[in-house]
Amino acid sequence: MRQYTPGSRTPGDTIVGMKEPLLEWPAVGVTRSPYRVMSDPEIYAQEQQRIFRGPTWNYLCLEAEIPHPGTFRTAFIGETPVIVTRDKEGGIHAMVNRCAHKGAMLCVDPCGKRDTLVCPYHGWAYDLQGKLRGVPFQHGVAGKGGMPDGFDLTQHNLERVHVQSFYGLIFGTFSTTAEPLQTYLGPAMIDHISRVFHKPIEVLGYHHQVLHNNWKLYMENSRDPYHATILHTFYATFKLNRLTMDGGILVDHDGWHSINYSKGATLREGGGEYESGIRSVVEDVGLADPSLIHRKQEFDDGITVAIQSLFPSCVNQQIYNTLALRNVVPQGPLQCELHWTFFGYRDDTPELREMRLKQSNLIGPAGYVSIDDGVIGEYVQRGIAGTGIDASAVMEMGGHEVASTPGSRATEATLRGFWTGYRALMGL
Protein backbone atom coordinates (compact mmCIF):
# COMPACT_ATOMS: atom_id res chain seq x y z
CA MET A 1 0.00 0.00 0.00
CA ARG A 2 3.02 2.31 -0.50
CA GLN A 3 2.15 3.22 -3.99
CA TYR A 4 2.88 6.62 -5.44
CA THR A 5 6.26 7.92 -6.45
CA PRO A 6 7.53 11.08 -4.88
CA GLY A 7 9.14 13.02 -7.68
CA SER A 8 7.49 11.11 -10.46
CA ARG A 9 5.66 14.25 -11.48
CA THR A 10 7.50 17.52 -11.44
CA PRO A 11 5.35 20.62 -11.08
CA GLY A 12 5.97 21.21 -14.74
CA ASP A 13 3.63 18.40 -15.59
CA THR A 14 0.80 20.49 -14.47
CA ILE A 15 1.87 23.66 -16.20
CA VAL A 16 2.27 22.23 -19.66
CA GLY A 17 -1.10 20.96 -20.80
CA MET A 18 -2.59 21.63 -17.38
CA LYS A 19 -6.23 20.83 -16.86
CA GLU A 20 -8.20 23.87 -15.71
CA PRO A 21 -9.93 23.96 -13.35
CA LEU A 22 -8.48 21.14 -11.23
CA LEU A 23 -11.77 21.10 -9.38
CA GLU A 24 -14.69 23.28 -8.37
CA TRP A 25 -14.56 24.18 -4.71
CA PRO A 26 -17.98 23.79 -3.02
CA ALA A 27 -19.84 27.11 -3.17
CA VAL A 28 -20.37 27.20 0.61
CA GLY A 29 -16.64 27.69 1.04
CA VAL A 30 -14.30 26.49 3.76
CA THR A 31 -16.92 24.63 5.77
CA ARG A 32 -16.36 21.96 3.12
CA SER A 33 -13.25 20.46 1.56
CA PRO A 34 -13.56 18.09 -1.40
CA TYR A 35 -11.98 14.70 -0.74
CA ARG A 36 -10.30 14.78 -4.13
CA VAL A 37 -7.62 17.13 -2.80
CA MET A 38 -6.45 14.22 -0.67
CA SER A 39 -5.69 11.84 -3.53
CA ASP A 40 -5.45 13.47 -6.94
CA PRO A 41 -1.87 13.32 -8.33
CA GLU A 42 -2.49 16.41 -10.44
CA ILE A 43 -3.50 18.46 -7.41
CA TYR A 44 -0.59 17.02 -5.46
CA ALA A 45 1.85 18.15 -8.14
CA GLN A 46 0.29 21.61 -8.08
CA GLU A 47 0.78 21.82 -4.31
CA GLN A 48 4.50 21.27 -4.79
CA GLN A 49 4.58 24.24 -7.12
CA ARG A 50 2.09 26.65 -5.56
CA ILE A 51 2.44 25.90 -1.86
CA PHE A 52 5.90 24.52 -1.18
CA ARG A 53 7.65 26.50 -3.90
CA GLY A 54 5.21 29.37 -3.37
CA PRO A 55 5.14 32.30 -0.91
CA THR A 56 5.18 30.14 2.23
CA TRP A 57 7.76 29.89 4.99
CA ASN A 58 8.73 26.28 5.63
CA TYR A 59 10.32 25.05 8.85
CA LEU A 60 13.73 23.55 8.06
CA CYS A 61 15.55 22.80 11.29
CA LEU A 62 16.80 24.31 14.55
CA GLU A 63 19.86 26.48 14.89
CA ALA A 64 20.84 24.15 17.72
CA GLU A 65 21.28 21.42 15.10
CA ILE A 66 23.92 23.38 13.20
CA PRO A 67 25.73 24.99 16.11
CA HIS A 68 29.24 25.32 14.64
CA PRO A 69 30.73 26.73 11.44
CA GLY A 70 30.64 24.04 8.77
CA THR A 71 27.85 22.03 10.33
CA PHE A 72 24.91 21.21 8.10
CA ARG A 73 21.60 19.43 8.21
CA THR A 74 19.40 18.18 5.38
CA ALA A 75 15.66 18.80 5.21
CA PHE A 76 12.80 18.92 2.75
CA ILE A 77 10.52 21.64 1.45
CA GLY A 78 7.69 19.59 0.12
CA GLU A 79 9.45 16.95 -1.96
CA THR A 80 12.51 19.09 -2.63
CA PRO A 81 15.65 18.03 -0.74
CA VAL A 82 17.40 20.94 0.94
CA ILE A 83 20.69 21.51 2.77
CA VAL A 84 20.94 23.98 5.62
CA THR A 85 24.46 25.12 6.50
CA ARG A 86 26.28 27.41 8.88
CA ASP A 87 29.17 29.11 7.17
CA LYS A 88 32.56 30.06 8.57
CA GLU A 89 31.23 33.39 9.75
CA GLY A 90 28.28 31.74 11.45
CA GLY A 91 25.82 32.76 8.76
CA ILE A 92 22.95 30.40 7.97
CA HIS A 93 22.19 29.36 4.41
CA ALA A 94 19.94 26.92 2.65
CA MET A 95 20.05 25.53 -0.87
CA VAL A 96 18.57 22.71 -2.84
CA ASN A 97 20.42 19.43 -2.29
CA ARG A 98 20.97 19.04 -6.02
CA CYS A 99 24.20 19.56 -7.88
CA ALA A 100 24.05 22.32 -10.49
CA HIS A 101 25.87 20.13 -13.00
CA LYS A 102 23.73 17.06 -13.55
CA GLY A 103 21.50 16.94 -10.52
CA ALA A 104 23.12 14.51 -8.10
CA MET A 105 22.17 14.79 -4.44
CA LEU A 106 25.13 16.43 -2.71
CA CYS A 107 24.58 15.43 0.92
CA VAL A 108 23.26 11.99 1.76
CA ASP A 109 24.01 12.21 5.46
CA PRO A 110 21.25 13.85 7.52
CA CYS A 111 23.80 16.03 9.28
CA GLY A 112 27.51 16.55 9.69
CA LYS A 113 30.38 18.98 9.26
CA ARG A 114 31.97 20.04 5.98
CA ASP A 115 34.32 22.69 4.67
CA THR A 116 32.94 22.42 1.18
CA LEU A 117 30.14 20.49 -0.46
CA VAL A 118 31.68 18.19 -3.05
CA CYS A 119 29.50 16.29 -5.48
CA PRO A 120 30.33 12.59 -5.69
CA TYR A 121 29.57 12.37 -9.40
CA HIS A 122 32.09 14.72 -11.06
CA GLY A 123 33.50 16.52 -8.10
CA TRP A 124 32.01 19.96 -8.54
CA ALA A 125 32.74 21.75 -5.28
CA TYR A 126 30.50 24.34 -3.60
CA ASP A 127 31.12 26.53 -0.61
CA LEU A 128 28.80 26.58 2.38
CA GLN A 129 26.74 29.32 0.76
CA GLY A 130 26.11 27.09 -2.25
CA LYS A 131 28.46 28.98 -4.56
CA LEU A 132 30.31 26.90 -7.12
CA ARG A 133 34.01 27.05 -6.35
CA GLY A 134 35.63 24.30 -8.37
CA VAL A 135 35.04 22.19 -11.46
CA PRO A 136 37.50 19.31 -11.99
CA PHE A 137 39.15 19.40 -15.38
CA GLN A 138 37.59 22.79 -16.06
CA HIS A 139 40.61 23.50 -18.21
CA GLY A 140 40.88 20.01 -19.62
CA VAL A 141 43.96 17.82 -19.64
CA ALA A 142 47.16 18.84 -21.37
CA GLY A 143 45.30 21.69 -23.02
CA LYS A 144 42.57 19.47 -24.45
CA GLY A 145 38.91 19.44 -23.51
CA GLY A 146 37.52 21.10 -20.42
CA MET A 147 34.91 23.79 -20.18
CA PRO A 148 34.53 26.23 -23.05
CA ASP A 149 35.82 29.77 -22.77
CA GLY A 150 33.26 31.91 -21.07
CA PHE A 151 32.07 29.13 -18.81
CA ASP A 152 31.10 31.15 -15.75
CA LEU A 153 31.15 29.43 -12.36
CA THR A 154 28.90 32.10 -10.89
CA GLN A 155 26.11 30.95 -13.21
CA HIS A 156 26.14 27.48 -11.68
CA ASN A 157 25.55 27.91 -7.99
CA LEU A 158 23.18 25.65 -6.08
CA GLU A 159 19.53 26.74 -6.22
CA ARG A 160 19.07 29.09 -3.32
CA VAL A 161 16.47 28.86 -0.55
CA HIS A 162 15.88 32.13 1.30
CA VAL A 163 16.14 31.62 5.05
CA GLN A 164 15.11 33.51 8.14
CA SER A 165 15.79 32.34 11.68
CA PHE A 166 13.44 33.24 14.50
CA TYR A 167 14.15 32.28 18.11
CA GLY A 168 16.39 29.51 16.78
CA LEU A 169 13.85 28.08 14.35
CA ILE A 170 15.08 28.24 10.78
CA PHE A 171 12.45 28.76 8.06
CA GLY A 172 12.98 28.79 4.32
CA THR A 173 11.15 29.86 1.19
CA PHE A 174 11.74 29.59 -2.55
CA SER A 175 9.73 32.72 -3.16
CA THR A 176 11.31 36.11 -3.61
CA THR A 177 7.91 37.71 -3.05
CA ALA A 178 7.04 36.04 0.25
CA GLU A 179 6.16 38.37 3.12
CA PRO A 180 8.77 38.72 5.85
CA LEU A 181 8.67 35.72 8.20
CA GLN A 182 7.23 37.63 11.14
CA THR A 183 4.46 39.11 9.02
CA TYR A 184 3.78 35.62 7.69
CA LEU A 185 3.49 34.25 11.22
CA GLY A 186 1.56 37.04 12.89
CA PRO A 187 1.59 38.30 16.47
CA ALA A 188 -0.14 35.41 18.22
CA MET A 189 2.15 32.86 16.60
CA ILE A 190 5.19 34.95 17.43
CA ASP A 191 4.16 35.19 21.07
CA HIS A 192 3.80 31.45 21.35
CA ILE A 193 7.11 30.69 19.64
CA SER A 194 8.88 33.12 21.96
CA ARG A 195 7.12 31.48 24.93
CA VAL A 196 8.62 28.09 24.12
CA PHE A 197 11.94 29.14 22.64
CA HIS A 198 12.80 31.92 25.07
CA LYS A 199 15.96 30.09 26.24
CA PRO A 200 18.49 27.68 24.74
CA ILE A 201 17.06 24.29 23.89
CA GLU A 202 18.74 20.92 23.55
CA VAL A 203 17.65 18.20 21.15
CA LEU A 204 16.95 14.93 23.01
CA GLY A 205 16.16 12.78 19.99
CA TYR A 206 14.15 12.18 16.85
CA HIS A 207 11.26 10.08 15.65
CA HIS A 208 10.40 9.35 12.04
CA GLN A 209 6.93 8.06 11.34
CA VAL A 210 5.47 7.05 8.00
CA LEU A 211 1.79 7.90 7.64
CA HIS A 212 -0.30 6.38 4.88
CA ASN A 213 -2.34 9.46 4.24
CA ASN A 214 -2.13 12.76 2.42
CA TRP A 215 0.04 15.30 4.24
CA LYS A 216 -2.94 17.65 4.68
CA LEU A 217 -4.85 15.08 6.69
CA TYR A 218 -2.10 15.21 9.25
CA MET A 219 -2.00 19.00 9.28
CA GLU A 220 -5.77 19.11 9.76
CA ASN A 221 -5.44 16.62 12.60
CA SER A 222 -2.72 18.68 14.27
CA ARG A 223 -4.98 21.72 14.51
CA ASP A 224 -8.28 19.98 15.20
CA PRO A 225 -9.46 20.70 18.77
CA TYR A 226 -12.56 18.60 18.22
CA HIS A 227 -10.84 15.22 17.91
CA ALA A 228 -8.34 15.76 20.70
CA THR A 229 -10.46 14.70 23.64
CA ILE A 230 -12.54 12.14 21.76
CA LEU A 231 -10.13 10.15 19.62
CA HIS A 232 -7.45 10.43 22.27
CA THR A 233 -9.06 8.42 25.01
CA PHE A 234 -5.92 8.76 27.10
CA TYR A 235 -6.44 12.52 27.31
CA ALA A 236 -10.01 12.34 28.50
CA THR A 237 -9.70 9.23 30.66
CA PHE A 238 -6.72 10.46 32.64
CA LYS A 239 -7.90 14.06 32.47
CA LEU A 240 -4.81 15.41 30.75
CA ASN A 241 -7.01 17.31 28.37
CA ARG A 242 -10.77 17.87 28.22
CA LEU A 243 -12.90 20.55 26.65
CA THR A 244 -14.18 21.22 30.15
CA MET A 245 -10.87 22.84 31.07
CA ASP A 246 -10.10 26.45 30.40
CA GLY A 247 -8.56 26.71 27.01
CA GLY A 248 -9.08 28.15 23.59
CA ILE A 249 -7.85 28.48 20.11
CA LEU A 250 -5.97 31.34 18.50
CA VAL A 251 -5.59 31.85 14.78
CA ASP A 252 -3.35 34.17 12.80
CA HIS A 253 -2.82 35.32 9.21
CA ASP A 254 -6.45 34.67 8.21
CA GLY A 255 -6.31 31.39 10.07
CA TRP A 256 -3.41 29.89 8.14
CA HIS A 257 -1.84 29.20 11.52
CA SER A 258 -3.38 28.22 14.82
CA ILE A 259 -2.80 27.34 18.44
CA ASN A 260 -4.98 25.06 20.51
CA TYR A 261 -4.28 25.18 24.24
CA SER A 262 -5.70 24.03 27.55
CA LYS A 263 -4.95 24.49 31.24
CA GLY A 264 -4.98 21.23 33.15
CA ALA A 265 -5.53 22.78 36.56
CA THR A 266 -8.85 24.28 35.56
CA LEU A 267 -10.79 21.10 34.90
CA ARG A 268 -14.44 21.38 35.86
CA GLU A 269 -15.83 18.03 36.98
CA GLY A 270 -18.98 17.18 35.12
CA GLY A 271 -20.19 19.10 32.14
CA GLY A 272 -19.43 18.31 28.57
CA GLU A 273 -20.18 14.86 27.32
CA TYR A 274 -17.48 13.11 29.31
CA GLU A 275 -19.86 11.71 31.88
CA SER A 276 -22.47 10.76 29.31
CA GLY A 277 -20.63 7.67 28.28
CA ILE A 278 -18.81 8.61 25.11
CA ARG A 279 -16.09 6.12 24.37
CA SER A 280 -13.36 8.64 25.10
CA VAL A 281 -13.66 8.06 28.85
CA VAL A 282 -12.83 4.50 29.84
CA GLU A 283 -14.24 3.39 33.18
CA ASP A 284 -12.32 1.36 35.74
CA VAL A 285 -8.93 1.87 34.25
CA GLY A 286 -5.89 3.13 36.08
CA LEU A 287 -2.16 3.34 35.69
CA ALA A 288 -0.04 0.81 37.57
CA ASP A 289 2.74 3.40 37.48
CA PRO A 290 1.11 6.83 37.62
CA SER A 291 4.50 8.56 37.74
CA LEU A 292 4.14 8.66 33.98
CA ILE A 293 1.77 11.62 34.20
CA HIS A 294 3.31 13.54 37.06
CA ARG A 295 4.06 16.92 35.61
CA LYS A 296 5.95 20.06 36.46
CA GLN A 297 4.29 23.42 35.75
CA GLU A 298 6.93 24.99 33.54
CA PHE A 299 5.03 27.96 32.18
CA ASP A 300 3.36 30.55 34.39
CA ASP A 301 0.42 30.93 31.99
CA GLY A 302 -0.93 27.65 33.34
CA ILE A 303 -1.06 26.07 29.91
CA THR A 304 -0.38 22.33 30.13
CA VAL A 305 -1.14 21.29 26.57
CA ALA A 306 -0.57 23.56 23.56
CA ILE A 307 -0.43 22.57 19.91
CA GLN A 308 0.69 25.22 17.46
CA SER A 309 0.17 24.43 13.78
CA LEU A 310 2.00 26.58 11.24
CA PHE A 311 0.99 26.58 7.59
CA PRO A 312 1.91 24.60 5.61
CA SER A 313 3.54 21.73 7.48
CA CYS A 314 5.05 22.47 10.89
CA VAL A 315 3.73 21.72 14.37
CA ASN A 316 5.16 23.03 17.65
CA GLN A 317 3.83 21.01 20.57
CA GLN A 318 3.81 21.08 24.34
CA ILE A 319 2.05 18.18 26.04
CA TYR A 320 2.76 18.41 29.74
CA ASN A 321 6.54 18.54 29.86
CA THR A 322 7.14 17.08 26.44
CA LEU A 323 8.31 19.62 23.90
CA ALA A 324 8.64 18.73 20.25
CA LEU A 325 8.56 20.08 16.74
CA ARG A 326 6.83 17.98 14.12
CA ASN A 327 7.36 18.47 10.43
CA VAL A 328 5.38 16.73 7.72
CA VAL A 329 7.18 15.70 4.53
CA PRO A 330 4.80 14.83 1.67
CA GLN A 331 5.68 11.61 -0.15
CA GLY A 332 3.03 11.49 -2.81
CA PRO A 333 -0.72 12.06 -2.48
CA LEU A 334 -1.18 9.03 -0.23
CA GLN A 335 1.82 9.09 2.06
CA CYS A 336 3.80 11.46 4.20
CA GLU A 337 6.55 11.18 6.74
CA LEU A 338 6.33 12.87 10.09
CA HIS A 339 9.64 14.02 11.58
CA TRP A 340 9.61 14.61 15.33
CA THR A 341 12.32 16.65 17.04
CA PHE A 342 12.06 16.17 20.79
CA PHE A 343 13.82 18.71 22.97
CA GLY A 344 14.29 20.19 26.41
CA TYR A 345 16.16 23.19 27.72
CA ARG A 346 19.88 23.29 28.16
CA ASP A 347 19.39 24.33 31.77
CA ASP A 348 17.02 21.49 32.63
CA THR A 349 17.70 19.83 35.95
CA PRO A 350 18.41 16.09 35.72
CA GLU A 351 15.01 15.49 37.34
CA LEU A 352 13.19 17.59 34.76
CA ARG A 353 15.10 15.92 31.93
CA GLU A 354 14.08 12.51 33.29
CA MET A 355 10.49 13.71 33.55
CA ARG A 356 10.50 14.77 29.91
CA LEU A 357 11.89 11.42 28.85
CA LYS A 358 9.42 9.45 30.93
CA GLN A 359 6.60 11.56 29.50
CA SER A 360 7.94 10.86 26.00
CA ASN A 361 5.75 7.76 26.34
CA LEU A 362 2.85 10.12 25.64
CA ILE A 363 4.03 11.18 22.20
CA GLY A 364 5.71 9.91 19.07
CA PRO A 365 4.82 6.79 17.07
CA ALA A 366 4.20 4.84 20.29
CA GLY A 367 2.78 7.64 22.44
CA TYR A 368 -0.33 6.99 24.52
CA VAL A 369 -1.79 10.17 23.06
CA SER A 370 -0.37 10.21 19.55
CA ILE A 371 -0.66 6.53 18.61
CA ASP A 372 -4.23 7.24 17.55
CA ASP A 373 -3.13 9.97 15.14
CA GLY A 374 -0.82 7.50 13.45
CA VAL A 375 -3.72 5.59 11.99
CA ILE A 376 -6.66 7.98 11.89
CA GLY A 377 -5.42 9.71 8.77
CA GLU A 378 -5.10 6.35 7.06
CA TYR A 379 -8.65 5.53 8.12
CA VAL A 380 -9.77 8.69 6.37
CA GLN A 381 -7.69 7.93 3.28
CA ARG A 382 -9.24 4.49 3.07
CA GLY A 383 -12.70 5.80 3.87
CA ILE A 384 -12.66 8.26 1.00
CA ALA A 385 -11.44 5.78 -1.64
CA GLY A 386 -13.86 5.56 -4.53
CA THR A 387 -15.92 8.52 -3.41
CA GLY A 388 -18.26 10.23 -5.83
CA ILE A 389 -17.02 13.40 -7.43
CA ASP A 390 -18.80 15.79 -5.04
CA ALA A 391 -18.03 14.16 -1.70
CA SER A 392 -16.59 16.63 0.80
CA ALA A 393 -15.64 16.87 4.45
CA VAL A 394 -17.89 18.98 6.70
CA MET A 395 -16.46 21.56 9.12
CA GLU A 396 -19.26 23.53 10.78
CA MET A 397 -18.35 23.09 14.42
CA GLY A 398 -18.16 26.57 15.90
CA GLY A 399 -19.93 28.12 12.95
CA HIS A 400 -18.68 29.20 9.55
CA GLU A 401 -16.12 31.80 10.56
CA VAL A 402 -12.38 31.72 10.95
CA ALA A 403 -11.57 33.52 14.19
CA SER A 404 -9.85 33.01 17.51
CA THR A 405 -12.09 31.86 20.36
CA PRO A 406 -10.01 32.20 23.50
CA GLY A 407 -12.83 30.75 25.59
CA SER A 408 -13.82 27.73 23.55
CA ARG A 409 -12.35 24.75 21.73
CA ALA A 410 -15.60 23.22 20.52
CA THR A 411 -14.83 24.57 17.07
CA GLU A 412 -13.32 23.71 13.71
CA ALA A 413 -12.35 27.32 12.95
CA THR A 414 -8.71 26.23 12.83
CA LEU A 415 -9.51 23.81 10.00
CA ARG A 416 -11.48 26.42 8.10
CA GLY A 417 -8.39 28.56 8.49
CA PHE A 418 -6.19 25.92 6.95
CA TRP A 419 -8.45 25.68 3.92
CA THR A 420 -8.53 29.46 3.65
CA GLY A 421 -4.79 29.44 3.17
CA TYR A 422 -4.90 26.43 0.88
CA ARG A 423 -7.47 27.95 -1.44
CA ALA A 424 -5.64 31.26 -1.59
CA LEU A 425 -2.41 29.61 -2.71
CA MET A 426 -3.92 26.95 -4.96
CA GLY A 427 -6.29 29.34 -6.69
CA LEU A 428 -9.21 27.06 -5.90
Binding site: G205, L287, D289, I371, D372
Partner: protein, 157 residues
Amino acid sequence: MIDEIVRRQIEDLHTRYIRAIDDDRLEHWPALFTEQCVYKIMTRENYDRGLPLAVMDCRSRGMLEDRVTGLRKINVFEPQRYLHQICGLSIDGIEDGAVRCRSNYLVVRTMAEGAMSIFSAGIYLDRIVLEPSGPRFEERIVIADSRRIDTLLVIPL
Protein backbone atom coordinates in the same frame (compact mmCIF):
# COMPACT_ATOMS: atom_id res chain seq x y z
CA MET B 1 31.97 -19.89 30.99
CA ILE B 2 28.22 -20.18 31.29
CA ASP B 3 27.08 -23.75 30.99
CA GLU B 4 24.52 -25.18 28.65
CA ILE B 5 21.79 -25.43 31.28
CA VAL B 6 21.78 -21.68 31.78
CA ARG B 7 21.88 -21.17 28.04
CA ARG B 8 18.83 -23.35 27.60
CA GLN B 9 17.00 -21.46 30.37
CA ILE B 10 17.73 -18.19 28.63
CA GLU B 11 16.62 -19.59 25.28
CA ASP B 12 13.37 -20.68 26.92
CA LEU B 13 12.88 -17.19 28.33
CA HIS B 14 13.31 -15.79 24.84
CA THR B 15 10.79 -18.30 23.53
CA ARG B 16 8.26 -17.41 26.22
CA TYR B 17 8.81 -13.75 25.36
CA ILE B 18 8.01 -14.13 21.67
CA ARG B 19 5.09 -16.45 22.45
CA ALA B 20 3.49 -13.89 24.77
CA ILE B 21 3.68 -11.27 22.04
CA ASP B 22 3.05 -13.32 18.90
CA ASP B 23 0.09 -15.13 20.51
CA ASP B 24 -1.37 -11.85 21.70
CA ARG B 25 -1.12 -13.01 25.33
CA LEU B 26 0.44 -9.73 26.34
CA GLU B 27 -0.90 -10.01 29.87
CA HIS B 28 1.86 -12.60 30.39
CA TRP B 29 4.55 -10.32 29.06
CA PRO B 30 5.30 -8.10 32.11
CA ALA B 31 5.90 -11.14 34.33
CA LEU B 32 8.94 -12.00 32.22
CA PHE B 33 10.61 -8.92 33.69
CA THR B 34 11.74 -8.12 37.20
CA GLU B 35 9.78 -5.64 39.30
CA GLN B 36 12.46 -2.98 38.85
CA CYS B 37 13.13 -3.46 35.16
CA VAL B 38 14.01 -1.36 32.19
CA TYR B 39 12.44 -1.93 28.78
CA LYS B 40 13.29 0.49 26.02
CA ILE B 41 12.83 0.55 22.28
CA MET B 42 15.39 2.83 20.70
CA THR B 43 16.22 3.58 17.12
CA ARG B 44 19.76 3.03 16.00
CA GLU B 45 19.82 6.70 14.99
CA ASN B 46 19.26 8.02 18.53
CA TYR B 47 21.26 5.25 20.20
CA ASP B 48 24.39 5.79 18.10
CA ARG B 49 24.24 9.56 18.48
CA GLY B 50 23.87 9.31 22.24
CA LEU B 51 20.42 10.87 22.20
CA PRO B 52 18.30 9.57 25.09
CA LEU B 53 14.89 9.60 23.38
CA ALA B 54 13.27 6.17 23.09
CA VAL B 55 10.20 5.07 21.13
CA MET B 56 8.96 3.23 24.22
CA ASP B 57 10.58 3.93 27.56
CA CYS B 58 9.49 1.77 30.51
CA ARG B 59 11.29 1.93 33.83
CA SER B 60 9.18 -0.45 35.93
CA ARG B 61 7.06 -3.54 35.50
CA GLY B 62 4.10 -1.27 36.22
CA MET B 63 4.88 0.72 33.11
CA LEU B 64 4.86 -2.54 31.13
CA GLU B 65 1.45 -3.35 32.56
CA ASP B 66 0.25 0.12 31.61
CA ARG B 67 1.40 -0.51 28.04
CA VAL B 68 -0.86 -3.56 27.96
CA THR B 69 -3.71 -1.50 29.40
CA GLY B 70 -3.20 1.13 26.72
CA LEU B 71 -3.26 -1.47 24.00
CA ARG B 72 -6.31 -3.26 25.37
CA LYS B 73 -8.46 -0.35 26.48
CA ILE B 74 -7.17 3.03 25.41
CA ASN B 75 -5.63 3.36 22.01
CA VAL B 76 -7.11 3.27 18.52
CA PHE B 77 -5.14 1.25 15.95
CA GLU B 78 -5.72 -1.25 13.20
CA PRO B 79 -5.83 -4.88 14.37
CA GLN B 80 -2.42 -6.46 13.79
CA ARG B 81 -0.14 -9.32 14.84
CA TYR B 82 3.59 -9.77 15.12
CA LEU B 83 5.67 -12.77 14.20
CA HIS B 84 9.19 -12.84 15.63
CA GLN B 85 12.29 -14.45 14.26
CA ILE B 86 15.26 -14.40 16.62
CA CYS B 87 18.73 -15.89 16.30
CA GLY B 88 22.36 -15.44 17.26
CA LEU B 89 22.01 -15.48 21.02
CA SER B 90 25.34 -14.80 22.64
CA ILE B 91 26.06 -14.76 26.34
CA ASP B 92 28.56 -12.01 26.85
CA GLY B 93 29.32 -12.14 30.56
CA ILE B 94 28.10 -11.70 34.09
CA GLU B 95 27.62 -8.25 35.56
CA ASP B 96 26.64 -7.78 39.21
CA GLY B 97 24.58 -10.95 39.26
CA ALA B 98 23.01 -10.51 35.85
CA VAL B 99 23.82 -12.28 32.62
CA ARG B 100 24.48 -9.94 29.73
CA CYS B 101 23.39 -11.34 26.40
CA ARG B 102 22.19 -10.24 23.02
CA SER B 103 20.48 -11.60 19.95
CA ASN B 104 19.09 -10.56 16.57
CA TYR B 105 15.36 -10.09 16.07
CA LEU B 106 13.08 -9.60 13.10
CA VAL B 107 9.40 -8.76 13.44
CA VAL B 108 6.94 -9.30 10.61
CA ARG B 109 3.71 -7.40 11.14
CA THR B 110 0.48 -8.64 9.60
CA MET B 111 -2.61 -6.46 9.46
CA ALA B 112 -6.15 -7.77 9.78
CA GLU B 113 -6.84 -7.53 6.04
CA GLY B 114 -3.66 -9.43 5.31
CA ALA B 115 -0.90 -6.93 4.51
CA MET B 116 2.49 -8.23 5.72
CA SER B 117 5.61 -6.15 6.19
CA ILE B 118 8.98 -6.17 7.85
CA PHE B 119 8.01 -3.96 10.73
CA SER B 120 11.27 -3.95 12.65
CA ALA B 121 14.69 -5.59 12.61
CA GLY B 122 17.51 -5.13 15.06
CA ILE B 123 19.05 -6.45 18.23
CA TYR B 124 18.11 -7.19 21.83
CA LEU B 125 20.59 -6.11 24.49
CA ASP B 126 19.60 -7.92 27.67
CA ARG B 127 20.48 -8.19 31.34
CA ILE B 128 18.92 -11.35 32.71
CA VAL B 129 18.80 -12.38 36.35
CA LEU B 130 18.57 -16.04 37.28
CA GLU B 131 15.97 -16.14 40.02
CA PRO B 132 15.03 -19.39 41.76
CA SER B 133 11.72 -19.18 39.88
CA GLY B 134 13.70 -18.97 36.69
CA PRO B 135 15.35 -16.23 34.64
CA ARG B 136 13.81 -12.79 34.15
CA PHE B 137 14.71 -9.71 32.17
CA GLU B 138 16.15 -7.03 34.40
CA GLU B 139 16.78 -4.95 31.32
CA ARG B 140 15.94 -5.30 27.65
CA ILE B 141 17.07 -2.59 25.26
CA VAL B 142 15.65 -3.08 21.78
CA ILE B 143 17.70 -1.31 19.14
CA ALA B 144 15.85 -1.05 15.85
CA ASP B 145 17.99 -0.63 12.74
CA SER B 146 15.46 1.64 11.06
CA ARG B 147 14.75 5.14 12.26
CA ARG B 148 11.28 4.85 10.74
CA ILE B 149 8.17 3.47 12.35
CA ASP B 150 5.43 2.57 9.91
CA THR B 151 2.08 4.07 11.03
CA LEU B 152 2.46 3.43 14.76
CA LEU B 153 3.95 1.11 17.34
CA VAL B 154 1.58 -0.21 19.99
CA ILE B 155 2.64 -3.83 20.51
CA PRO B 156 6.06 -4.15 22.15
CA LEU B 157 8.87 -5.55 19.99
